[in-house]
Symmetry: D2
Subunit: 314 residues, 4 copies
Amino acid sequence: MKQPDLQIVVDQIADEMAQQSERGVVADYIPTLASVSPSHFGMTIIDHDGNCYMSGDADVAFSIQSISKVFSLTMALGFVGDGLWSRVGREPSGSAFNSIVQLEWEQGIPRNPFINAGAIVVADILLGRYEPREILGEFLRFMHTVTGDDTITIDEAVAKSENETGFRNRALANYMRAYGNIENTVERNLGVYFHLCSLSMSCHQLASAGRYLMCGGRRAPGTSDTIISQQRAKRILALMMMCGHYDGSGEFAYRVGLPGKSGVGGGILAIAPGIASIAVWFPGLNSQGNSQLGSNALERLVELTGWSVFRTDQ
Amino acid sequence: MKQPDLQIVVDQIADEMAQQSERGVVADYIPTLASVSPSHFGMTIIDHDGNCYMSGDADVAFSIQSISKVFSLTMALGFVGDGLWSRVGREPSGSAFNSIVQLEWEQGIPRNPFINAGAIVVADILLGRYEPREILGEFLRFMHTVTGDDTITIDEAVAKSENETGFRNRALANYMRAYGNIENTVERNLGVYFHLCSLSMSCHQLASAGRYLMCGGRRAPGTSDTIISQQRAKRILALMMMCGHYDGSGEFAYRVGLPGKSGVGGGILAIAPGIASIAVWFPGLNSQGNSQLGSNALERLVELTGWSVFRTDQ
Amino acid sequence: MKQPDLQIVVDQIADEMAQQSERGVVADYIPTLASVSPSHFGMTIIDHDGNCYMSGDADVAFSIQSISKVFSLTMALGFVGDGLWSRVGREPSGSAFNSIVQLEWEQGIPRNPFINAGAIVVADILLGRYEPREILGEFLRFMHTVTGDDTITIDEAVAKSENETGFRNRALANYMRAYGNIENTVERNLGVYFHLCSLSMSCHQLASAGRYLMCGGRRAPGTSDTIISQQRAKRILALMMMCGHYDGSGEFAYRVGLPGKSGVGGGILAIAPGIASIAVWFPGLNSQGNSQLGSNALERLVELTGWSVFRTDQ
Amino acid sequence: MKQPDLQIVVDQIADEMAQQSERGVVADYIPTLASVSPSHFGMTIIDHDGNCYMSGDADVAFSIQSISKVFSLTMALGFVGDGLWSRVGREPSGSAFNSIVQLEWEQGIPRNPFINAGAIVVADILLGRYEPREILGEFLRFMHTVTGDDTITIDEAVAKSENETGFRNRALANYMRAYGNIENTVERNLGVYFHLCSLSMSCHQLASAGRYLMCGGRRAPGTSDTIISQQRAKRILALMMMCGHYDGSGEFAYRVGLPGKSGVGGGILAIAPGIASIAVWFPGLNSQGNSQLGSNALERLVELTGWSVFRTDQ
């Protein structure tokens, strides 16, 4: 498939999405998310040569929410290595992002690091080595390194709201603590967890952050800085493919065919391995809690570019 | 990654696997499977140029069992198109291959076509248009076409044994019939289903059969015959990636990184899109019902060749 | 509490129920049940002196359906004794009458003999000793003995309809057979099961049949014929209290306070131990599948007579 | 059945239980429970004439734990009436005392007030009207009134230990708060809940406390003081029968046939309506978390006295 002009592609997708009326529903469980206009959209593609293509509100920061689970997992694997997997599984959950039923069946071991329970265990693993402030400092440093942009910050108002309403996450954390899979106090743990979820980033910043996953662990195209090993990069992509969209992961793989991770703020980070890092933002969510138009936009992107990992013309 | 000599690769993997002592447990629910020696192994790679590399018992026929779900799905999509998806989902199951719990929760709609319940619905959809004999005739013709080998047959002794012991499948079929998602009588349905699962094939034949998935729907490298569209080939690969190893699909994606489908006879068909069709056979199963050494062999293959769909050096 | 005149009581309840507009919904899964008018009602009380009080259609036969589970359990315990309990539990189910989820969790052992799965095991236990025709013959003889009425018959049309539509029961039976808890073929088993459920009886006959449970195992007031031991009578009453109304058993105990068993035909048999055997029939069902006005009628009866087993003025 | 001499009965049961070697396992999740010797036993019967029969350690205080759920429910019904039932169900749970699965299925409404989740809602309902200290003060006053013994106290060391280890209860409370069925902060709620569970009472005191349930709501035999209405007393007894022994309630009804409530400290309160209030204490628990020998002792008591609510010789 001949590579099309990517700026034309992103502009075309922006036009098409602007005409769609089914935009999903903006998350409303905290005021800072509820107040976001569903008419926002943004898209950024950074390709393997480092070229950047943008459309819409690609420079407007939004709450990346669960997309940060990719970065906190990367950081935790860097700190503790594969020992992490004794406390978190690697299977699709087969249920909603915040289901507690599976935890009872599997005795406190979450099925993967991209559902809430799994990311709470990841935060607990980080707390086994560092103080909360250190973790957040390291996390921001990590994000500044992978993006090359040190203006990225945590939105304290979001973290505060999450903390005030996060009863279901408290239930998950306490439940796992009862099984010994959370070692820190729940408040200490969730203090970290909610902050990690409250990162504000634009599509441009998010696509920049995804470059190390596009590049087999190297920080960016054209550099030799290594963020993680190539092996680990592939494995994180596998986890994103299998578990990145909660109970809509199968649908995303079927329609889009790229590893991706969604957040309740309406963002999706998708990686075409070796080809491109892509971020989209459409705040309205579908019934699985994934960005409705974000999934559509990525489906169109893959139709126009042929970037599915399942393409056969290589 | 420079492409290694594939014959050396398959020989090396054969050697390594021969030395492994943890070989899993051979399925014993029917005599024809229970009597298979766990010391068998076979491996075949057919690459995008049509070259074939084999080791071990690559020409010995075995019962491909659930691997046939890939082929019956392909055939059913050819007959009825995407309307099929109103009766079967596309999500990983999050539970064992024969679980009935999910069917109660989702009111008779199986989560995907590669668990038993899903393949039973596929058989029912075929029965909506054809008589049982016609379906089996068409199925064999399809297998003869995609392999170019008209010696492939259904093992009637296996089909008979499956039929005699298939109480759990009868439970699944009756349960779905109670919800109206099975339209034929259960015995008529399972007669077809059990025969479809009882195909005997060698690794060589199986890898040949997988060529249309490697080649974007074309029958084989170097031909222009089309079995299915490129779009459909990609989507079937996505389903294999997400759901091909039951509740071990995440682990297979993490370790191997290729779309694959396993069978309880110990076979696995894996596809490196655009690169190779691979079949392995090691009869011993792990606790999820997937071939223990088969998974190991494929993990080594990907380490030696770099064929993961998540590789980033393209 | 002074014993009121029971004929006045049954007439008063008949009047009150006739004025209620919320009558529930008649079961419609088979034609013979769907065609029953929801305006029917019947009530019979037989007291410990053998006096009989009736109102409404107390002499009209209806399909007693699951109420027969009490009688088939009684007969099976007579044949095989307490060994029966190795294959059936004695706990409330916590779920719907035809749920299959619990069977997966508890590996083929139904929670009690009054849900469908449990009664199917009871039929299987009977088949361990007798041919289907013998069982039905013995069952009718048992019913003729306990009622003193040899006109009671099985409605073959109902049995046939049940057989034609009983997919969920087939799922349950096959599922338990997969775990080895059903020893006969499913068709042989369900042939018996569906016939046992298809008994036609009037309220008068049903209240007569319940006398042995009112009388501690003796056939009727004033006789010394023993149907079962006093110990066993008490235990069957305990099971009726705990499990007799599916997932509405707690509500029935709370509001009525008597051991009872409902059927989807709209009948309820309730026993005031040592005091009375009571049968009511109102075809409309509530959301748990129990007779809506039947429960109300029994609640009123207990208010007017003080017969709850939890009364404290003894 | 002629009434036997009850002192002989309690002594005989004490002897029999002393000879049993299967004593179950003492709860060990908090030190104050783990340190209790499994060789303790105590039994008290208070009959409808107010006579008291005791054996063993009937005057030794132990932690009544969940038995207090009967008393907190009584008090809450007194304060808020039947409106309580909009937030708690009345059905047996069909699962373990601390299961969270059911809460997800039924969207935050616990199945009954005698499982932990239900009693936590009861505490929350009390907190809707009173401050924590007031509730505990009222609760002790209530216990002093019903027992006629104002030495009964809450064991602060137990409450503190419960609070330190109660992660699963925190999970339940947070989970229900996410559904809006807990209105107070979880810490405020559990502070009350854990204190209510930490009452120390002897068998003698517990049997005294149960008199109002034996007497149809009157405080004690021979008085006209009313604690609750007769209607409410019957209903609480119905709830105890259906839900008093968690997922062993059916077994208790089958073997004993009396409304009862167990606690993890090894106590059981059982009521023979209109006849006797009975307390037993054997610290060893069976697999459902109910006193192993306590159940056996009550089964023998009913065999020797005929007090089952299902007896038919009245």
